[in-house]
Symmetry: C2
Subunit: 357 residues, 2 copies
């Protein structure tokens, strides 16, 4: 905008022509403004990183960081929107009222179980791409990691027991996507122990999962769950998995300990206790499992096709990551690097394809 | 963000340190994130340009254009937020719930009289700088224009009659600021005629103004108001001011016809009918009067000092524009060019000074 003429076009009176066009054809907002590529990272700050319910101001930096990743890896213009509402009804209403401002919504760091109903309701009422990344971004990367891990340690299969510790938004979403991906023996563990149909203290979401998981009808503690298990997935707390528990697992176990910043078990301890393959959420250890590998490409693909984000698109993202990394796969490099720009492009391409199909 | 180390700082785990800092000291959100310099251009699309109530999608381009001006002239990062609510209560609640996401709020294109209560309530409940630009940005530039005009045509003074046609948000705000600026004989005209105390069809805001304006107790039509008046200010509709009306004004009248895109009278007709000085809202005629001369600098100054926007800061902006333009002032160049970057800096400087004082 350097000349008076530029100003006349970008602002009054030129802008009135664009308004009139959109008035006649609301869809033109996607082709004649930057709205479509403008994504809101929306949170109420109730479950921020490992810090918990720290609110809308203290949660802001995470949304800001996420906005930078969107721009850096998917050229999406993102803006943090902190919503000062913990009540589901209030939160949903506020987001619905501002939704015309954006081409997509990334829900972030919202506590379970509220996050499930919030995402479900917004996906129903709004037509733009919406995804709660703590659930689905994480689940996509974990499924990609396990797909690769089974190639590296072929003594385990999709019918081997997978124990997921932590039954918040990430744990539940991981369980669901692993089932979609063909895993048949999943055991969820929360702070009270193994989630099974005979427990009377479960919320609706956990109750549903209790009936779909735990085919061996296990009950008891985390130690009971991991005994003999092939795969451990942690989205819980620092130090929860002891070396003794790892030793009690099936030989050559796979340990994905994603608690942040301190994992459920440190990699060296897990290896000493018998694990064949260890991954964490951290960038300073080998095998980082982080949703930043998935969400930029998923949203890029969804925005480009203006499609709601479906299970098929998530599986396409998994496939993209796995295929992209096939020739570089090793026990020290389970997944591609987040900094590898080409993997984000590969994810976006596959997601676009799936959306169009 | 080019290395893994950058990622570690900008995102997890580094970002957790910033969250913890803000948790202890909420004010740190202003120094350790980009929140402070992030401004929302918020509208419900009920009074967009001259187009009226065109809604949240069709109104989007105006907010987008405004965001560009904020960046271009004041280095403020702005984002359009369209709120799908015409009810005052709903609108205010939604804005309050997302306010922690922003360092300032520019209210835009909200119909009168709702805009008055909305701005008043938000200024009370939120501590960040907030301004409804259609009111105050316009008023600041009009007061600067008239201050300059009286220097060029000294036969008129601040006690000469000023007729303001159009009693929406802009007209009412102009009347108020002109009074603060020392003008003593203002007559407002709406679609029904002159606003006077004997009218029974006025809303609260117009009623209050009726008692503060029109000292000559005029009544009747626009033609009655302008007869013998020194200054005409139009924020109404194309062609409302006829050449005959201009001829009926005091000799060497001042005509500021800001209806967009077609003014209340075309400059050549106004001159032929006897006007000494003519200004419009258009960039393709001499003497453009446009709020883009004021709002970038006003918000820059307010954000830098984290101050609510006060009458004194608005008057400082007027003074900045007038002083900046003193040596270039002429009947063909009543105000500085919007494209002149130095004027925005001058406004910001004076506004900062006023805020600190």
């Amino acid at each position: 905008m350097t000349t008076r003429q530029d100003l006349t076009l970008a602002y009054t009176p030129g802008i009135a022509e664009v308004c009139k066009l959109i008035q006649q054809d609301p869809d033109a907002v996607n082709t004649h403004t930057f709205c479509r590529n403008n994504l809101a990272v929306i949170s109420n700050g109730t479950a921020v990183l490992g810090l918990g319910n720290i609110g809308t101001k203290a949660g802001y930096p995470v949304m800001e960081g996420k906005a930078m990743l969107f721009k850096r890896f998917a050229n999406i213009d993102a803006v943090p929107i902190m919503v000062h509402a913990t009540d589901i009804e209030e939160f949903v209403t506020t987001v619905e009222q501002i939704a015309d401002s954006f081409g997509a919504i990334n829900l972030e760091d919202i506590a379970a179980p509220a996050c499930f109903e919030i995402e479900e309701r917004l996906k129903k009422s709004l037509s733009i791409p919406i995804m709660h990344d703590d659930q689905h971004g994480t689940a996509v990367v974990v499924l990609a990691a396990l797909t690769n891990a089974l190639q590296l340690v072929p003594s385990h299969t999709k019918s081997s027991r997978v124990v997921i510790v932590g039954s918040g938004s990430a744990g539940i979403a991981i369980a669901k996507l692993l089932m979609v991906g063909g895993f048949t023996n999943i055991v969820l563990v929360d702070s009270k122990g193994i989630i099974s149909s005979d427990r009377s203290d479960l919320n609706d979401f956990k109750q549903t999962l209790a009936s779909q998981t735990n085919p061996e009808k296990l009950s008891g503690s985390l130690a009971d769950a991991v005994k003999g298990a092939s795969i451990f997935i942690g989205v819980s707390k620092a130090g929860l998995l002891t070396p003794e528990m790892v030793t009690s697992m099936a030989p050559d176990s796979i340990v994905v300990a994603m608690a942040n910043p301190v994992p459920e078990i440190m990699p060296d301890l897990a290896h000493q206790a018998g694990a064949a393959l260890v991954a964490t959420g951290r960038s300073d250890f080998a095998n980082q499992v982080n949703n930043a590998l998935a969400f930029p490409g998923i949203f890029r693909g969804a925005i480009d096709t203006r499609s709601p984000i479906t299970e098929k698109m998530k599986l396409a993202a998994v496939q993209a990551i796995v295929e992209y990394h096939a020739k570089d796969l090793s026990r020290e490099m389970l997944l591609p690097s987040i900094m590898d720009e080409a993997v984000h492009k590969a994810v976006a391409d596959k997601v676009r394809e799936a959306a169009r199909a």
